[in-house]
């Protein structure tokens, strides 16, 4: 999919270049807030947060890193995109290990997709930070 973003001339970035990327990954939308895009940050936070917690409320599964199953590892790669929410979910032992009803399967997908969307959001914040995107 081609992205139709305007690409400005390169500018010098002050401070740690990857700060927006890391902060945006840890807390959805925080990278955009860091770069001064409050409204974008709030909308991203609301969307990704709602998706993650609705997934948990639907009894979705939180994947573990070392189960030996390739599909579980891919699920974990998606889940870990949720940053601190994933850590919080693991600490509080949220999510269900075995998916038993249809909505729980949807919940599992909601959690994985929320993580993947947060990866896109964090990369976008990084592009704003380094001046690659307006």
């Amino acid at each position: 999919m081609a992205s139709k973003v305007q690409v400005p001339a390169k500018t010098e970035t002050q401070g740690f270049v990857y700060s927006a990327l890391i902060v945006g990954w840890l807390v959805p939308g925080a990278g955009h807030v860091m770069t001064g895009r409050w409204m974008r940050g709030l909308l991203l936070f609301a969307s990704i947060t709602a998706m993650f917690w609705l997934g948990i409320a639907m009894q979705g599964k939180l994947y573990l890193p070392n189960t030996g199953d390739v599909l579980d590892m891919l699920g974990f790669a998606g889940d870990v995109g949720n940053g601190l929410f994933y850590a919080l979910g693991r600490i509080l032992d949220l999510g269900h290990g075995a998916v038993q009803i249809a909505t729980a399967d949807y919940g599992t997908k909601f959690i994985v997709v929320a993580g993947l969307l947060n990866f896109i959001s964090a990369v976008d914040a990084h592009n704003l930070r380094i001046g690659r995107k307006i």
Binding site: K4, L43, I48, M51, T103
Partner: protein, 59 residues
């Protein structure tokens, strides 16, 4: 426990994903809104078309 219908789950998924796609794939607010709405219509539209196609195949 939150147990939405299949269609409600589709609407929620389409809404959240479209907001993120709109913001991250376009630069201006107007273009973001247009692309977000386009993504939402495509998400929901494809699901409705695929659902009817499966219903026809099953008959």
């Amino acid at each position: 426990m939150f147990a939405p219908t299949h269609f409600t789950a589709v609407l929620l998924f389409a809404t959240f994903a479209s907001v993120v796609f709109g913001i991250t794939q376009r630069s201006t607010p107007k273009a973001m809104a247009k692309y977000g709405i386009y993504c939402w219509v495509m998400f929901v539209g494809v699901v409705i078309v695929a659902s009817w196609a499966m219903w026809l195949i099953r008959r």
